[in-house]
């Protein structure tokens, strides 16, 4: 189980590929990989966003992410998990968060991946400040993730 904070841009597919290959024999028995990649949008609440700064709480952020991953590991049968989250300045189109969950069964992979994302969004100490055309503003809250559009 790997949790990383990244101060510089990352390429999510290359990260997933590298992590997957490093699993060697184990990956053969995995069977299911569910992932989520969140990238920065160039709009929010009707405004164009040109840049964003991600603040975090060094020490607590890592601690909370590790706790969330441990809970997922205890709750589902997982082979491995990878969580990468950007900090610092990000631009539209930049990946912000990557969650990957390897399991023998797809239900566990899907459930754990979503759980990690929802917990990360509601518990991990990160704060987004958006740079607009004129001025800046803090994002005030995250949208709940379990509502369906269907």
């Amino acid at each position: 189980m790997t949790v990383e904070l990244r101060p510089t841009p990352f390429e999510p597919f290359a990260e997933l590929s590298r992590f997957h290959e490093l699993m060697a024999e184990q990956r053969r028995s995995a069977g299911a990989l569910a992932t989520f990649i969140g990238t920065m949008r160039d709009f929010n609440e009707g405004d164009t966003v040109t840049r964003m700064t991600l603040e975090y709480y060094p020490g607590m952020t890592e601690r909370q992410l590790a706790a969330i991953v441990e809970t997922a590991k205890a709750r589902w049968q997982l082979i491995d998990a990878l969580v990468i989250h950007r900090v610092g300045e990000v631009w539209p189109g930049d990946p912000i968060v990557l969650v990957g969950v390897w399991s023998t069964h797809r239900a566990a992979a899907f459930d754990a991946c979503r759980y990690l994302m929802e917990e990360l969004k509601s518990r991990a100490p990160f704060w987004k400040k958006e740079a607009l055309g004129v001025g800046e503003r803090w994002v005030s809250c995250n949208t709940p993730g379990y509502s369906s559009c269907g």
Binding site: Y57, K121, R123, A124, W127, K128, W138, V139, C141
Partner: protein
């Protein structure tokens, strides 16, 4: 007789580090401060000490030693207490 090193140790131990993040950090106008621990029993006491006695705003989250806490959570000498707005990562 109390030596200088003992005084220093005591002054470090008898303190609580308070940290602020994001919009709250900007509102407070400071990143962190160190309070004398005397008379501070709960997170709520710490907040009152840094905000001229005002109650902790409902939406502000708090942590003690990097774990989430409530206003009623106890604090002790040497603790790190943090206050911050709702998190918006992911």
């Amino acid at each position: 007789m109390i030596g200088l090193s003992e005084i220093r140790r005591a002054s470090i131990a008898m303190s609580i580090r308070v940290r602020y993040f994001a919009s709250l950090r900007e509102k407070m106008g400071r990143v962190e401060e160190t309070l004398a621990a005397e008379g501070l029993e709960t997170v709520s006491d710490v907040w009152k000490a840094v905000s001229e006695g005002r109650p902790l705003p409902e939406q502000i989250l708090c942590a003690v030693n990097m774990d989430y806490a409530t206003p009623e959570s106890l604090v002790a000498d040497g603790d790190e207490v943090a206050f911050f707005p709702p998190v918006t990562g992911g």
